[in-house]
């Protein structure tokens, strides 16, 4: 029966960290914490992939290790290529700590990105737009939409850079896109800042049009379900994508195939 949830113990050396890392989110395979980097004045994001006690220990170790290394390799490659992603500051794929000093999980310490996720930025904009568009004339609506269109272009350019560097993300949603800005506050609906792509937990190295098109398709679907008012501007994202990547034409052609396939789309709904 249901039990009280408590996050697993932090792996070494973070069991010593003062003040202790703060848990931000619990995903399916990782916990994300905020802590300090190897410089006490600079914050860092700490991603922990705890051991999964349900699987055989040999299999568990192999998978955890494989995946955290793949994630780190993708990010490090992107940093090298100058793509805007959090840098890897340190990592440990062996895993220490946990119960009785046994296998506790692997960790990845990353650069802390200051700013909001695009999901929140678009949600705020959509709420504002919905409430105010009734009173706006055509020119005002165009002006109100302009920053969202511009943001989608910047996102397209960021994805183009990602793909050009030979990496596909595997889980592009507006929660995995951030705007780096130190000036954003909760009340703000400004749409400024550099687009930073985060969470490479499902990323892999690939230059296949199919994989790239699926990245774009997943984001398009995610926008459709979470940001219905911004989705019409998805075309802008493709414009930004095309500008940033010479090989974009064949990827976008493939995107049309992927859309048609829409494997999981119900025939009725």
């Amino acid at each position: 029966m249901a039990t009280e949830y408590k996050p697993p113990a932090l792996p070494s050396p973070f069991s010593n960290t003062k003040p202790p890392p703060i848990l931000l989110t619990q995903g399916a395979e990782a916990h994300l914490y905020k802590t300090v980097s190897i410089n006490p004045a600079i914050p860092a994001a700490l991603k922990i992939r705890p051991s999964k006690p349900y699987r055989h220990p040999i299999l568990d170790r192999k998978l955890t290790r494989q995946r955290i290394i793949q994630e780190a390799r993708c990010m490090i490659k992107l940093v090298r290529e100058g793509v805007k992603v959090p840098a890897v500051l340190a990592m440990d794929w062996e895993g220490q700590g946990g119960d009785e000093g046994g296998w506790g999980g692997a960790w990845l310490m990353m650069e802390w990105i200051e700013g909001p996720v695009v999901r929140v930025v678009l949600e705020k904009w959509e709420a504002w737009f919905k409430a105010n568009r009734g009173t706006m004339d055509e020119a005002q609506i165009t002006a109100a939409e302009a920053p969202v269109r511009a943001l989608l272009r910047r996102i397209g350019a960021a994805i183009a850079a990602l793909h050009k560097a030979g990496v596909v993300h595997g889980d592009l949603t507006t929660s995995n896109l951030m705007l780096r800005t130190s000036e954003w506050d909760q009340e703000d609906r400004a749409i400024e800042g550099e687009v930073v792509i985060i969470d490479f937990g499902l990323a892999s190295q690939s230059v296949q049009d199919e994989d790239r098109a699926v990245d774009l398709y997943v984001l398009e679907r995610a926008m459709g379900s979470t940001h219905p008012l911004s989705e019409p501007f998805f075309e802008e994202l493709l414009v930004g994508y095309r500008e940033g990547n010479k090989g974009a034409i064949s990827t976008i052609r493939r995107l049309e195939d992927v859309r048609l396939r829409g494997r999981k789309r119900s025939m009725l709904g």
Binding site: N16, A72, I76, V79, R80, V88, A90
Partner: protein
């Protein structure tokens, strides 16, 4: 002159303060290296060719990796100090790591690191020993000093980052999107940190 020995408490590793000194114009590199090779316990230091060090963050990342591996009993070499030298390297070959990042007979700029792995090793004991052992000019362990010392070309080669732009090179400022010198250096530094983190993966 008492060396400018800095004692750093690296976050997450509270039980192992690290003592770091940076020297220029070192005159006795050959004898320091000899002591190291002879396994003289008094000279158990990480002695790093400082021209291979880009920044303070670069050095601390390598030290962090080595001390973490040490505290988890995962050393690939004899002790935490030799481990620091090989932690600078992106490759797993120990001999090659020492050749590229360790002290040589002709090293002029030297980074010395000592970890307090036992209670006898204190700031004062390390400072006293270094004062009597290293014939050189002590300079602060900071990015300012290192920027005058680091050999960017050699560093980039060691980390196979030759394709990256180098800080300090002339950039066409007419291009509005051209990255600043700080951006260029930061990208190089973060790429190095990644290589250090991935060693042995």
């Amino acid at each position: 002159m008492t060396p400018q020995l800095e004692t750093i408490n690296i976050p997450h590793l509270p039980n192992a303060p690290v003592h770091v000194a940076l020297y220029r114009n070192v005159e006795n590199s050959a004898s320091l290296r000899q002591q190291l090779l002879a396994g003289n316990a008094d000279f158990e230091y990480a002695l790093i060719d400082a021209s291979m060090v880009l920044s303070r963050q670069h050095a601390i990342a390598a030290i962090f990796r080595a001390v973490n591996d040490y505290s988890n009993n995962r050393l690939k070499s004899h002790n935490v100090h030799s481990e620091i030298v090989i932690s600078f390297s992106p490759a797993t070959n120990i001999t090659e790591s020492f050749r590229k990042f360790g002290i040589t007979d002709s090293t002029k700029d030297l980074l010395v690191v000592k970890v307090s792995v036992s209670s006898e090793i204190t700031h004062d004991s390390v400072a006293a020993h270094l004062e009597s052992s290293v014939v050189a000019t002590s300079v602060p362990f900071d990015d300012q000093s290192l920027s005058e010392i680091s050999d960017i070309t050699k560093i980039k080669k060691a980390y196979k980052l030759g394709a990256l732009p180098s800080p300090g090179t002339k950039i066409d400022r007419a291009q509005t999107k051209a990255p600043t010198d700080d951006d260029v250096k930061r990208r190089l530094e973060l790429s190095i940190l990644g290589a250090i983190a991935l060693r042995g993966s």
